[in-house]
């Protein structure tokens, strides 16, 4: 029996040797059967990506193009397979989005292409691929990352969607202002339904849960920003669409409640250091609709002020809100037909779509800015819990 003498880290070259017949076992244990909520919780972020890349480096080192190809194909297909199986689980999708991006960054960082080597240490430069140019595979993996991103957005939307109308429009947290119900309108929710009602806090808690999961998985900060922007877009679009379809949501006090809710969402962004990710801007149509509910709507000057304020709303949306506007007490009046005509005349020359409702399925194009890692491959150790004892550190 060979004596197992522990080697010093500096003796390792940051590669993992494996036999061809172990490739299926590798993707099975590392991708198909890895539970993000179990073993993976204690791993360093992106570890599966680093392990796969270190295996790839060895296949490249021994100049075996077939081994390189089959490892990449098995990796990609296994990630697709696990997402097909557990694509409705946010943690699984987030985990594989983070790892797919890390794998893509590794392929760039160690490609040997100078554009990607600027931040590398000398040792990292020594770890660049020796024999193969994997630029085409990088494109395939980037396509895969886009697919996973879209799946993540769908998954997140399914969780958020049922909370939005209730938390952003129906639930009232500022009782002092909105205590008076619009006359002649019944509450839509029964007292039984109230118990299960989502509040703004439910939404904020859910956003924090998404955020902390993505951080735990080592998702690139730039990618988190894009996810958050998309989340805010969905919240804003679903809220505005419901406001545009419900008379009971078009009152001065609802305007107040919406503005308060928006300020809480902004506070959440500030708390997470995400004020510059473009998320707040996606709420602009909703913010303007809330302002429209609160401004005076009587004179020509009012009409002018509304037209210069509501630039993120279409004419159809402005007119709809004015038509639906319902006074909450005897001191207020409905918006006159003449006032709405004035607004329509003023906005006649605007070049825009006649669109009333926002497209809640729209997804902003995603990008994966290159994000090299300072982690030294030769220091990576594989925890026993991953069942990868058949890999040899080289």
């Amino acid at each position: 029996h060979p004596v197992n003498i522990p080697r010093r880290e500096k003796d390792f070259q940051g590669m993992l040797e494996y036999k061809k017949e172990d490739e299926l076992k590798l993707v099975k244990n590392l991708i198909l059967e890895l539970k993000p909520r179990g073993v993976a919780v204690n791993l360093i972020p992106g570890l599966p990506a680093y392990i796969l890349f270190m295996c790839l480096r060895h296949a490249d080192y021994v100049n075996d193009d077939q081994k390189v190809r089959t490892l990449l194909t098995s990796t990609i297909n296994s990630i697709k397979k696990i997402l097909k199986k557990r694509g409705d689980d946010f943690e699984t999708v987030s985990f594989w989005l983070a790892n797919t991006c890390r794998f893509l960054h590794c392929l760039k960082q160690y490609s040997g292409d100078e554009a990607f080597m600027k931040h590398n240490t000398q040792r990292q430069n020594e770890h660049c691929l020796s024999n193969f140019d994997l630029a085409e595979y990088r494109q395939v993996i980037s396509d895969l990352a886009i697919q996973i991103y879209q799946q993540l957005i769908k998954c997140m939307e399914n969780i958020l969607q049922p909370m939005i109308v209730s938390g952003m429009l129906e639930h009232e947290t500022i009782q002092g202002v909105s205590g008076v119900k619009p006359t002649g309108l019944r509450k839509r929710t029964s007292s039984i339904a109230d118990e299960g009602t989502y509040t703004l806090d439910s939404i904020l808690r859910q956003l924090s849960a998404f955020h902390s999961t993505m951080c735990q998985h080592g998702t690139d900060p730039e990618l988190i920003k894009q996810v958050v922007k998309q989340q805010f877009y969905i919240i804003g679009a679903v809220t505005l669409n419901n406001l545009l379809l419900r008379k009971d949501m078009c009152s001065w006090s609802k305007g107040m409640q919406i503005r308060y809710n928006v300020s809480q969402l902004e506070e959440w962004l500030r708390d997470k250091g995400l004020m510059t990710c473009g998320a707040k801007e996606t709420l602009e149509p909703l913010i303007q609709a809330a302002q429209l509910l609160q401004v005076k709507k009587k004179t020509d000057e009012d009409a002018e002020a509304i037209c210069s304020m509501c630039l993120a709303l279409t004419t159809a949306q402005i007119v709809k809100v004015l038509n639906l506007y319902t006074p909450v007490n005897e001191f207020e009046e409905r918006v006159s037909v003449a006032f709405i005509r004035t607004i329509q005349t003023r906005l006649r020359d605007r070049c825009e779509s006649p669109q009333l409702l926002m497209d809640t399925k729209m997804i902003y194009p995603v990008t994966f800015p290159f994000s090299p890692s300072s982690l030294a491959l030769e220091t990576i150790q594989i925890p026993g819990s991953l069942n990868l004892a058949f890999l040899t550190r080289v």
């Binding site: 990609i76 020796s130 396509d143």
Partner: protein
């Protein structure tokens, strides 16, 4: 370290959809 003069060989990659097809036989074999 790799000698910088030697160019790397570009490995042609199939598309994502083609890769899935390549995997069908393998999936059929598994229980």
């Amino acid at each position: 370290p790799r000698p910088s003069s030697r160019p790397r060989i570009l490995l042609k990659a199939p598309t994502l959809a083609e890769m899935e097809e390549m995997n069908i036989s393998e999936e059929e074999e598994s229980p």
